[in-house]
């Protein structure tokens, strides 16, 4: 309870009070007398098992569990008061480390949701109790109504709590849509449990749960692989960068900044993931540029400049075998195009430049300016932003610059730590001109 603001405590108390009020009301009007207690017990056990192994989703604080199916089955099988009681067992879920306040809140909100869904089910003409085989079709409409009330109510109660406890600033709407879709699947599971109860009672619950747990397991494996993959791709990109001491961490930061811009302009999760990787991998082709060209002081010859210009293509060549969205490849290939058409490798201008490339270009230049370079120290973030603004319309897409400025002003930007003097052992101490730095453009002399 400590650490919560007073209005959050008030809300918590209110939710618990309403839950007890509903149970008390049910008791007062004698609704518990018709409840089948053995069914209730089995359902409560089922609910508890589901609640104890929540599917962790990417939303940090909200652990969504499959208990939803059990709660909705309870609505059908034991009616509103029974569903409320089943929901209440969430207090006892086996989740080590879950604070008492969270347990109480979970129990209370599940109670309310169960009761409300049960009411809707009954109002829509559903009959609480084990459904007869012949009446299955008549079950579907009331059940859909109950599910339609349960989910939004559940969301609303939790979302209010989260925002009051200030644990999340914005509830991610896009993630919620995905969540709703998976809830639809879980709702059908609930219908299955209820519909099969007449034939095989609790065995139906086991059969229904098995695919569910397998799905959960597969999803857990997927998340683990995803994390492992992200770590691996970051480590490998770092390895490519070790050649140049000063650009250490560049790929991760460009990836982050690109994601910020992409989020700001409202990209979907699939594309967000793609641009995260594209940002990470945008410079792998630099390894194909001879070190002496990258490290050359003073103006480059046309030939050397051509070698530098080749690096986006080299990068593309390396990553082409990976199953990314095509946009990611386009982003890597064109990240040095300029808005006015004077960039490379193809000299595209304006809208011809793929969206990903326009984003990465801004992120790339920004990180280059705000990191230390051997020939200059890091620029402060406001100065770099000013530079971006100045170059918007000539080098950069003004839309992307504006989106990035907005994102940085809201979320801030953690510039890389001061680079200590390189230890010289494994790193290069030679002056390297950074081809990404817009304030010190590469000078090219034409050979005559």
């Amino acid at each position: 309870m400590r650490g919560l603001p007073w209005y959050a405590k008030l809300y918590l108390t209110a939710v618990i009070a309403v839950a007890f009020g509903l149970l008390g009301h049910g008791l007062a009007v004698g609704r518990f007398e018709r409840v089948d207690w053995s069914t209730l017990l089995v359902l409560a056990l089922l609910f508890l098992v589901c609640e104890s192994v929540p599917t962790l989703l990417n939303v940090k604080q909200a652990a969504i569990s499959v208990s939803f199916s059990a709660a909705l089955a309870a609505v059908v099988l034991v009616g509103p008061p029974g569903a409320a009681l089943v929901g209440m067992t969430a207090v006892f879920s086996v989740r080590p480390g879950l604070a008492l306040t969270k347990r109480l809140f979970n129990g209370a909100q599940f109670t309310i949701c169960g009761y409300a869904a049960g009411e809707v089910f009954v109002r829509l003409g559903g009959v609480a109790g084990v459904p007869e085989i012949e009446n299955f079709e008549e079950l579907i409409l009331p059940f859909a109504g109950a599910a339609a009330v349960y989910v939004p109510l559940n969301f609303a109660l939790i979302a209010v709590m989260l925002s009051l406890a200030a644990q999340v600033d914005r509830v991610p709407v896009r993630g919620m849509v995905q969540l709703l879709a998976s809830y639809l699947g879980y709702a059908t599971f609930g219908l299955l449990i209820a519909g099969l109860w007449a034939t095989v009672q609790s065995i139906s619950a086991v059969l229904v749960l098995l695919p569910l747990f397998v799905a959960r397991w597969a999803f857990g494996q997927y998340l683990a692989q995803q994390r492992s993959y992200d770590a691996t791709i970051a480590a490998l990109c770092q390895a490519v960068e070790t050649k140049d001491y000063y650009t250490r961490g560049h790929c991760t930061r460009v990836s982050l900044a690109s994601t910020m811009i992409a989020e700001e302009i409202g990209m979907g999760p699939e594309r967000l993931r793609a641009i995260r990787y594209a940002g990470m991998l945008h410079d792998v082709g630099k390894l194909g540029v001879p070190t002496k060209v990258l490290q050359k002081e003073g103006p480059l010859t046309e030939e050397e400049y051509a070698a530098i210009q080749l690096h986006p293509m080299r990068g593309l060549e390396i990553v082409r075998g990976i199953d990314f969205l095509d946009e990611a490849f386009a982003g890597i290939m064109h990240h040095h195009e300029r808005h006015d058409g004077t960039g490379y490798p193809m000299g595209l201008a304006g809208d011809e430049i793929p969206e990903f490339a326009r984003i990465i270009a801004v992120a790339d230049a920004f990180d280059s300016m705000t990191s230390d370079r051997s020939y200059r120290g890091a620029r402060p973030v406001p100065v770099a932003i000013e530079e971006l603004r100045k170059a918007a319309g000539t080098q950069f897409d003004p839309v992307m610059v504006a989106a990035f400025v907005k994102a940085v002003e809201r979320d801030g930007w953690e510039a890389p730590r001061k680079v200590p003097v390189p230890p010289g052992e494994e790193a290069e101490t030679v002056v390297i001109k950074d081809h990404d730095d817009p304030t010190t453009p590469i000078q090219v002399v034409s050979e005559r």
Binding site: Y186, G195, I203, L207, A215, Q225, R227, A234
Partner: protein, 423 residues
């Protein structure tokens, strides 16, 4: 680990046998059904449609294994069906085969239309497993129906169903292992364990769903098909994501391992050749799939330490390189891989890739050492005389530098693969 997509000519005798058997069963089923007519046409069409949908949504699991969970579950459900909302289901095993075959072909057609030819062997296996279960179970359907309708005894009926599904799935795994052992030259017991590991979770989900479908049809009639399809979709989505990230992972390591080549640190194609050779040798020596995956990652990245060197060794770290240098590259590479925080065992393999046999490096490290030495001497050539000379040279150092068992395994692999020009 994943073999390149095989063409039609690439089918070996085991697969051909399987496909022929499936074809025969299909013909028998369809002919019989055409002759005696379709029992409960609407039920057959409903299940057939679900099978077709499942085939349409087939997915490829790690190791290039094609599965179609929804289709399989629907087939199980149709096979185990005792009654549809109280009406006894009287379809014969041959009708099950016919519905299964027609549904599968219908589901494969859209794939064919967009230029993705069906994996005939995978389809044949699914069909034969379904047929096997149908021939075993359908004769029992009548007595079992009596049990459920007269005395409402569901538990023993469920037991019979579960046991039969289990047997059918085990048969499927054995067939899959036989095919795989033949295809990628791995030992049969190892293949069985690999298949079992891959098939167990999805198999459990599919089996439960199939049972559920048969039960649900009893209480919900045709609505069962709809209600049931959505939940299995959740499972399928999770597996698809998992398979997707696994594939991307491998592709990414393969792709990024090439930076050493693009940077001019090693010969073009070196990492890829060493990794293929290592995996082939690892299989020959009976490594299971998880170990093979680690071996492949380590082999792909065995030269990545070069990136940390101030001055790359021209031509890469070959057998001719000073051992101290080579060791240093291995150490630096292991450092890079350790950074991932998840590939610790791979890092260990890379770190010990130069150790002589006496120091007891892990088997994977010994394999990479031999494969690396061989490729340094061969440089991607497929000339048989040169291969013989290279092997001779490795044999000279066997026992000190190289593990003799690995060298001999590699000699067998090279001997087998050389005519195919696949190295």
């Amino acid at each position: 680990m994943i073999d390149s997509p095989r063409s039609w000519q690439g089918l070996d005798s085991g697969q051909l046998l399987l496909i022929c058997a499936a074809g025969l069963v299909t013909v028998a089923g369809v002919a019989h059904t055409a002759a005696v007519g379709l029992h409960d046409a609407s039920v057959a069409v409903g299940f057939g449609a679900l099978i077709a949908t499942g085939e349409l949504a087939r997915l490829t699991m790690p190791g290039n294994r094609e599965v179609a969970p929804i289709s399989t579950a629907a087939a199980l459900g149709y096979t185990l069906l005792l009654d549809m909302g109280g009406r006894q289901a009287q379809h014969s095993a041959l009708q099950v085969v016919a519905v299964l075959a027609v549904g599968m072909i219908a589901g494969a057609l859209p794939h064919l239309a967009v230029g993705r030819p069906p994996r005939l062997d995978a389809m044949a296996r699914r069909l034969l497993t379904g047929a096997l279960l149908a021939f075993a179970f359908r004769p029992l359907a009548e007595p079992l129906y009596e049990m459920t309708s007269h005395s409402d005894q569901w538990t023993p009926v469920l037991g019979v169903m579960a046991a039969m599904i289990l047997l059918a799935l085990l048969c499927d795994i054995v067939v899959a292992a036989l095919l795989r052992a033949d295809q990628v030259r791995t030992a049969f017991p190892v293949a069985v364990r690999d298949e079992l590991r891959m098939a167990a979770p999805l198999g459990a989900a599919v089996a439960a769903s199939g049972l559920l479908l048969a039960l649900a049809a009893h209480s919900m009639d045709m609505a069962a098909l709809l209600v049931f399809a959505a939940p299995l979709l959740v499972t399928q989505v999770a597996f698809r994501k998992y398979a997707g990230i696994r594939a991307t992972y491998l592709q990414t390591v393969r792709a990024l391992a090439r930076v050493t080549e693009v940077g001019g640190y090693v010969e073009p194609g070196h990492s890829r050749r060493v990794s293929r050779l290592s995996v082939a040798v690892g299989r020959e020596m009976g490594l299971a799939e998880p170990e093979l995956l680690e071996l492949e990652y380590a082999a792909l990245m065995h030269d990545i330490g070069q990136l940390s060197l101030r001055d790359p060794i021209p031509g890469g770290a070959t057998v001719l390189t000073d051992p101290a240098q080579a060791r240093r590259i291995a150490e630096l590479g292991a450092e890079v891989i350790k950074q991932t925080g998840v590939l610790d065992r791979v890092a260990e393999i890379v770190r010990r890739q130069c150790d002589p046999v006496a120091e007891g490096p892990p088997l994977a490290s010994r394999i990479i050492k031999v494969a690396n030495g061989y490729d340094d001497l061969m440089g991607g050539s497929t000339d048989r005389d040169r291969a013989g000379a290279a092997l001779e040279r490795l044999r000279l150092a066997a026992g000190t530098e190289y593990d003799p068992a690995v060298v001999e395994a590699m000699a067998r692999v090279v001997d087998r693969l050389a005519p195919l020009h696949r190295l």
